[in-house]
């Protein structure tokens, strides 16, 4: 058994190694890790803003702080701005980093490439309105636009490779840099021109290239869909979109909060004074948020704990420690970008598997009448571990199932965290 498992892991490692040596892959992963500090600051600021300065938040509600808060609007605005200018523009920054690393790899002018990448992505996110100044599609700029940010950056770098001249290294600092800029002129013009055309086209067609809206529409279209399979399928779709940097947390947080099924459940619970045997026990609202995303999409809390217990890499431990606080409150962007998890072939299996297994365990517990369904609304920013507990009006079995879910998640992540260790050792030896 153990031998067999090891051979499977070895084969995975080989595949992964081949994958890892691709240039695109290295550029993407490196760009993501560079963003970690900003994403972390943004997440913590978002957490503070949401947990302390929002009237509907967990801390405020549980400790009755709302009167104290109404006089402290300034803090909310402050943290709001910090979040918007770090986490809120992370896709644009990703475009910048990706362009830089691509240009560097092909020995082109990295500074100009990174500026071009940034501007190109901002143009793509531009919302063309007749009577206002500059306005951007904020979803495109945030975590949800990460994939397109990296893509635009990479393509910008490629344009520099094709059209630019190799970097002149020996420029004196006091001399003119015009020649250097001119080397890349055609690349800059081409990138900005193409992206402007694309942006105009998108604005004209009034469509978004982000799949968020599709998922949301699917979810509201199928608000009556209450089958377990639909729930698992949508949960899987949302998790895989997150894995590829195609969607963001705010969108996911709306999952299953609305719709006929959830209000029918709530009505039932209020009129029968119990959360047991509600009409729709297996919806997104009762399963995905409280069980399928403990610590954020992909059961990130389990990943962080697995790193703490099994990893031998200093970087992993440090990233886990820094991100622990936001992750406990289900803000996982820092881990997704820092490890990185997004687009990382190493974690694709557990990242998609953990939510499914967790939701499966929870629905089994409901089906076996071990616990009631999670139907009551919990305040914003409730810690992931307490969501099911509070959503069932303090049912201890629900809490136990949450803990069990985390333990199972840690076991699923364990071999992959260890594999990462081995790969790091191999790389060091090489």
């Amino acid at each position: 058994m153990n031998v067999k498992k090891q051979s499977i892991m070895m084969r995975l490692a080989q595949h992964f190694n081949r994958f890892q040596s691709a240039a695109v892959y290295q550029i993407m992963q490196r760009s993501l890790t560079l963003l970690f500090p900003f994403v972390l600051i943004g997440s913590i600021s978002q957490l503070i803003q949401l947990a302390l300065f929002n009237r509907n938040s967990f801390v405020v509600n549980v400790f009755h702080l709302s009167n104290w808060l109404s006089k402290r609007n300034i803090f909310q605005m402050m943290f709001d701005s910090i979040t918007s200018l770090t986490l809120g523009i992370v896709a644009a920054l990703a475009a910048m980093c990706a362009a830089r690393y691509t240009a560097k790899r092909y020995k082109r002018d990295e500074q100009l490439a990174s500026i071009t990448g940034l501007i190109a992505y901002l143009i793509l996110a531009l919302r063309l309105t007749p009577n206002e100044g500059l306005s951007f599609n904020s979803e495109m700029l945030g975590m949800g636009g990460l994939f397109f940010g990296l893509l635009v950056g990479y393509l910008t770098g490629l344009a520099f490779k094709k059209l630019g001249r190799p970097h002149r290294r020996d420029l004196p600092l006091n001399g003119s840099a015009v020649g250097r800029s001119l080397d890349s002129m055609w690349a800059i013009l081409l990138v900005l021109g193409v992206i402007l055309g694309l942006s105009v086209l998108l604005n004209w067609l009034a469509i978004s290239i982000l799949p968020d809206q599709v998922i949301l529409r699917l979810q509201s279209l199928k608000a009556n869909q209450t089958g377990l399979l639909f729930t698992l399928g949508t949960g899987l779709a949302a998790t895989s979109l997150t894995f590829f940097g195609l969607t963001s947390m705010p969108t996911l947080a709306q999952f299953g909060r609305e719709g006929i099924a959830s209000s029918a459940n709530l009505n039932y619970a209020f009129s029968h004074h119990t959360a047991w045997h509600v009409p729709y026990p297996f919806t997104l609202g009762t399963l995905y948020e409280p069980f399928g995303a403990i610590g954020g999409t992909g059961g990130t809390l389990a990943l962080v704990i697995a790193v703490f217990i099994f990893s031998k890499q200093r970087d992993y431990h440090l990233i886990g420690r820094w991100s622990l606080l936001p992750v406990l409150f289900n803000f996982n962007s820092a881990v997704l970008v820092g490890m990185p998890v997004i687009g990382n072939g190493l974690y694709v299996i557990p990242f998609l598997l953990v939510p499914l297994v967790n939701m499966g365990i929870a629905s089994a517990a409901v089906a076996l009448n071990l616990m009631p369904s999670v139907v009551f609304t919990v305040p914003l920013g409730t810690p992931g571990l307490l969501q099911a507990f509070m959503g069932t009006n303090g049912n201890l079995v629900a809490l136990a199932v949450t803990v069990l879910n985390v333990v199972v998640g840690v076991m699923i992540y364990k071999p992959f965290v260890q594999l990462a260790d081995q790969l790091a050792l191999v790389k060091e030896a090489a």
Partner: protein, 293 residues
């Protein structure tokens, strides 16, 4: 290596202990909140909340209430609120126990006309409304606004009302000048433009009745019929039902409208619940189905 792990695990244990410490207050909170919500859910109270027009006080509807109660055997108790400029609220009258359809009138110390005042009054109304929801556990209410009262309601529904535990079932505005004194829709007032811009915030399950009075073919002495009619650009297509009714004849003058016998009948027919009523009016065939439990 062991040190690295030890430090991380300590951090984890401490954080988990902190989360564990939150368990007790969290459980307390959810118990409390579920209890309040269940109470609201079970509540049978469905008040009618009136807002008077400009220059009128919280006593504006006394005559109307007397007429309604005379028809219906004094079932409805009357509570009056006045919101002062400093956001303080004073109360008079009371809601009798076991009255499931009390009348509540919300007046304002500053009851002047004009768009900026209407915006202020909408904010004051939202304060009064929040105070009422805290004191009484109703899960739905019916809204009646006379003249500018209808405009205040529109501003309130668009800017302040976003509760998912309370529904506004019906709204009746009586002679409300949605386009102020403009007699033509081609010239839209700033207020009407704003109302139309934000119309998407109005609840879609609302049944809306807009009543216009007319003394002649143009107006009710004060408000042009065209201005009342302009309400359709806000409500029609956004709410579940939008009905326009024009009342003419005796007492169709703007200020007489709240005690106009026809309007009293319309209120009984469309706004008030019908159970146990001694209705003196013949019930028309096309009346909306009763939604009360």
């Amino acid at each position: 290596m062991a040190k690295l792990r030890k430090k991380s695990l300590w951090l984890l244990v401490i954080s988990l202990a902190l989360i564990g410490g939150l368990m007790w207050p969290a459980a307390q909170w959810s118990r409390q909140s579920v209890m309040t919500l269940a109470k609201r859910h079970d509540s049978r109270m469905s008040p009618v909340i009136f807002i008077p027009g400009s220059s009128a006080t919280q006593n504006r509807f006394d005559e109307l209430v007397a007429k309604l109660n005379a028809n219906r055997g004094n079932r409805h108790s009357l509570l009056k609120l006045t919101v002062h400029e400093n956001n303080q609220i004073s109360y008079s009258g009371e809601i009798k126990p076991r009255d499931n359809e009390p009348f509540i009138v919300v007046g304002f110390e500053n009851n002047k006309d004009g768009y900026s005042n209407i915006q202020k009054q909408a904010k004051w109304f939202s304060l009064a409304f929040t105070a009422l929801t805290k004191k009484y556990q109703f899960n739905n209410f019916k809204a009646v606004g006379h003249s500018n009262g209808g405009l205040i309601y529109t501003a309130f529904l668009e800017d302040y009302f976003n509760r998912d535990d309370i529904t506004v079932k019906k709204l009746m505005t009586i002679g409300s000048p949605y386009n102020f004194s403009e007699t033509s829709i081609t010239h839209k007032s700033q207020m009407l433009t704003d109302f139309i811009k934000k119309r998407k915030n109005i609840p879609t399950n609302l049944s809306m009745y807009s009543i216009a009075g007319t003394e002649n073919f143009e107006n009710d002495g004060i408000v042009p019929a065209r201005s009342v009619e302009a309400g359709k650009y806000i409500y029609q297509g956004q709410v579940k039902h939008y009905t326009e009714i024009t009342v003419t004849g005796d007492q169709a003058q703007h200020s007489d409208l709240p005690q106009n016998q026809q309007i009293v009948a319309l209120l009984e027919q469309y706004i008030l619940s019908k159970k146990n009523t001694r209705n003196t009016q013949p019930t028309p065939k096309d009346s909306t189905p009763s939604e009360d439990q």
